[in-house]
């Protein structure tokens, strides 16, 4: 019994260490576009779709990157269209349904290249490194990231349970039809 507190303290210390692990000098020319990324879960022939190259672990497991991503999500006005993840003119990002895929690289591409039904292309407007941070944060909205790295309470009006308290990606009612699938031509 007497031995537990130091162990617990060490654990807390260690996990705190992990939380604060930062890369202070990110590569100035981080490439975003070279990862092969499938937009579909099916592929012809045996073997299924190819694996994703960069799963974004470095961003998703790092509290600093996620909190930066959260700040930038507001700063670059993502919030104006996606609210605090619940959606507005853009789709909800905190739910478990993705039009263009919910993998880290899918989201990096959604931000960088834009999407045809109203998602602006931020390529050349937001540096690659910051796009990765934002993408990591977007993944934290449905808590696809470790709980201890996800952001905590807001400084502002609390719009919803904070990211680290959300259950990981629960299902919600509603369809998954993208806007493009709704338009008769």
């Amino acid at each position: 019994m007497k031995r537990l507190p130091p162990i617990a303290a060490a654990l807390v210390f260690l996990s705190a260490c992990e939380r604060e692990d930062r890369e202070f000098r990110p590569s100035p020319v981080a490439g975003e576009g070279d990862a092969a990324i499938a937009l579909s879960s099916i592929a012809p022939g045996p073997g299924g779709t190819e694996m994703r190259a960069d799963t974004g672990k470095a961003y998703e497991e790092n509290a600093y990157h996620l909190s930066e991503g959260k700040r930038l999500f507001t700063w670059f006005n993502c919030k104006g269209c996606h609210a605090n993840g619940g959606g507005g003119s853009g789709p909800a990002l905190m739910d478990d349904r993705w039009i263009y895929g919910g993998e880290f690289q899918n989201i990096v591409q959604s931000i960088g290249e834009g999407r045809p039904n109203g998602m602006p292309s931020f390529r050349g407007k937001i540096p690659d490194e910051l796009i990765m941070q934002i993408a990591g944060y977007v993944r934290s909205m449905g808590r696809h990231v470790p709980m201890d790295a996800a952001p905590g309470r807001n400084d502002d009006l609390m719009p919803r349970p904070s990211e680290h308290r959300l259950p990981s990606s629960p299902a919600v009612t509603g369809g998954t039809v993208p806007p493009s699938g709704q338009a008769p031509q």
Binding site: T74, W75, F76, N77, K79, G80, C81, A83, N84, G85, G86, G87, G88, S89, G90, P91, A92, M94, D95, R97, G114, P116, N117, G118, M119, P120, D156, L157, P159, R160, P161, V172, T173, G174, G175, T176, V177, P179, S180, Q182, A183, P184, Q185
Partner: protein, 556 residues
């Protein structure tokens, strides 16, 4: 035109369907628009054809009323740029086409105005008036006045500088354009401009009442229904909220946002203006309908303009001068104490001023206001105004907004909830002269569509659960109702069919700002979704699904 007449009374003289026989009303035909977004348009009937326009992608359908089942006569797809869907703040709605002299006029989400030959659906002209890359879209129903098509721009949540424009009905050429902000020259304020109140007089107020250059991205868009008085030869239109919503970033009166203008339709020159809400605090667009009626006021007949504003007041104005005759509450309000009739200025309650980074709770009414775009009707039979409206309050926090062209310029965290009583909407009958409510019907959700008054003594409207209802115009008793396939936010129309019978038509199809939780599949766990409306609408998903259908009803 969707408003029935240029005075926008939405009152029809047809009286075949009455309070006695309305209980027998049944479906005559239906038509699917094939679009799953909010249907705010009005079916328009001219001769033997009915015209409807869908939300984005703004497909226009003409139905042949002379044949059984009203089959499709033609359709026209303007193929608007898909990216425009991202820059429409509050669902991708359209409020209807307008007809004049053999042609149909309408706006598209990617800011085109199109004229079609009403008989064939062939395009007569198509002009582009806005840049979606700057957040400019179009949603309003045009008004045709003397061979001029009057249109305005949407995008008040994107820092768009608002304007109204007159196009030549023959070829779409721009005849005049008046901005809502900036120097007098741009606003078309000149020698003829005679506002009634001191607060609206002075030089270049569209610049002077803003921080330097803020007027360039200051909003004041024009997307409501325009009205026209042929006798005075004046058009009346409102301007929307200033950008951003956060008022701390734009000290000053922010002219000419949240204003009503009277303009000469030939030149665009302003004759008078009155600012409903100077230095807007809560996104109170001044675009709600301005219905033109003549009233007996203190022994004299006055040419009046009736306007139920977002701020919770029904205004009665003298439309020749812009003088406020009365302004009375139709919604619980704790943000101001009404209008000082001497100065014309609204009296703000300092306790609800949204200082930056401070959450203020229980602000009534909300950002969409006591009432949003949803048009009222005025019955010449009862002399009452029928106002579809909300009953909502909100929590609000002003936050710093960044201007990035083509993205939202808002700066507020909003979370709405039901107002006193717990119901979220009402249809109220209002005595415009006495300035008080006569009866009201409480609804579970905001009444987000329009109303229609008929000489049969009836008021038609729909609710967001999908019920289309007929109420007794005198008592408010619901005499008939029919459950349509989706929530209703459209504008009812009545017409005499080629067979001589009276019909009533409505577009069903939930959406709009209030219904975007369903049409946009938003996540109800985030109360700030859809600019805070989702918090008040979380249960709408349990009640209705999306999908656009036209319903036409008639007696057997």
């Amino acid at each position: 035109m969707p408003t029935k007449d240029t005075a926008a009374t939405r009152y029809s003289g047809l009286s075949e369907i009455t309070t006695d026989n309305v209980k027998d009303l049944r479906v005559a035909f239906t038509f699917s628009t094939g679009v799953n977004k909010g249907h705010e348009g009005a079916p328009l009937v001219v001769g033997g054809s009915m015209f409807i326009i869908s939300p984005y992608p703004n497909i226009v359908y003409a139905l042949d009323l002379t044949r059984p089942g009203a089959p499709l006569k033609w359709q026209y797809n303007p193929k608007p740029d898909a990216s425009s869907q991202g820059v429409a703040c509050c669902d991708v709605v359209n409020r209807g086409p307008t007809y004049s002299d053999g042609r149909l006029f309408f706006t598209t989400l990617d800011a085109h105005v199109v004229a079609l030959d009403a008989e064939t659906g062939r395009e007569a002209w198509n002009v582009k008036l806005g840049e979606i890359n700057r957040g400019e879209t179009m949603t309003m129903a045009p008004l045709v006045v003397k061979d001029k098509v009057i249109v305005g721009i949407s995008g008040g949540e994107y820092g768009v500088r608002g304007w109204i424009q007159a196009l030549d009905a023959a070829d779409g050429k721009s005849l005049w354009k008046a901005y809502s902000t900036g120097p007098d020259r741009d606003v078309k304020i000149g020698a003829e401009f005679k506002p009634f109140y001191e607060q609206d007089r002075g030089q270049d107020l569209g610049v002077a009442t803003w921080p330097p250059n803020a007027w360039e991205i200051g909003g004041g868009t024009v997307w409501g229904f325009t009205t026209y008085d042929p006798e005075l030869d004046l058009i009346f239109h409102g301007t929307a909220n200033p950008g951003p919503w956060n008022p701390n970033q734009r000290p000053g009166d922010n002219k000419w946002t949240n204003t009503v203008f009277a303009r000469d339709p030939d030149t665009g020159e302003a004759r008078w203006a009155y600012q409903w809400n100077p230095h807007d605090l809560h996104d109170w667009d001044g675009i709600n309908e301005n219905i033109l009626v003549d009233v007996e006021w203190q022994g004299k007949t006055r040419k009046a303009l009736v306007h139920p504003d977002r701020n919770g007041l029904v205004y009665l104005l003298d439309r020749t001068t812009g003088e406020v005759l009365s302004a009375n509450f139709y919604h619980p309000v704790n943000t101001h104490q009404g209008v000082d009739l001497k100065t014309g200025r609204i009296k703000i309650n300092a306790g609800k001023y949204p200082h930056e980074n401070e959450v203020i709770r229980d602000v009534c009414p909300t950002a969409p206001g006591a009432k949003d775009w949803s048009p009222s009707s005025f019955s010449h039979q009862t002399g009452l105004l029928y106002i579809p409206h909300n009953n909502l309050c909100m929590d609000w926090e002003s936050t710093e907004a960044n201007y990035i062209a083509g993205t939202p310029y808002v700066g507020a965290e909003v979370r709405m909830h039901a107002g006193p009583g717990g119901h979220r909407g009402e249809l109220s009958a209002w005595d415009v002269v006495a300035g008080k409510e006569v009866w009201t019907i409480k609804e579970r959700f905001p009444v987000w569509g329009g109303t229609l008054a008929t000489a049969g003594g009836l008021i038609f409207y729909g609710n967001m659960e999908g019920w289309f209802k007929a109420a007794d115009a005198r008592t408010g008793e619901v005499l008939w109702q029919f459950k349509t396939s989706s929530g209703i936010i459209g504008q009812p129309t009545t017409y005499r069919g080629p067979d001589g019978k009276q019909y009533v038509a409505i577009l069903s199809g939930v959406g709009g700002w209030a219904g975007s939780i369903v049409s946009g599949d938003l996540d109800p766990r985030d109360g700030t979704a859809a600019l805070g409306f989702v918090n008040a609408m979380a249960d709408l998903k349990d009640v209705t699904t999306k999908g656009g259908t036209l319903y036409a009803f008639a007696l057997p």
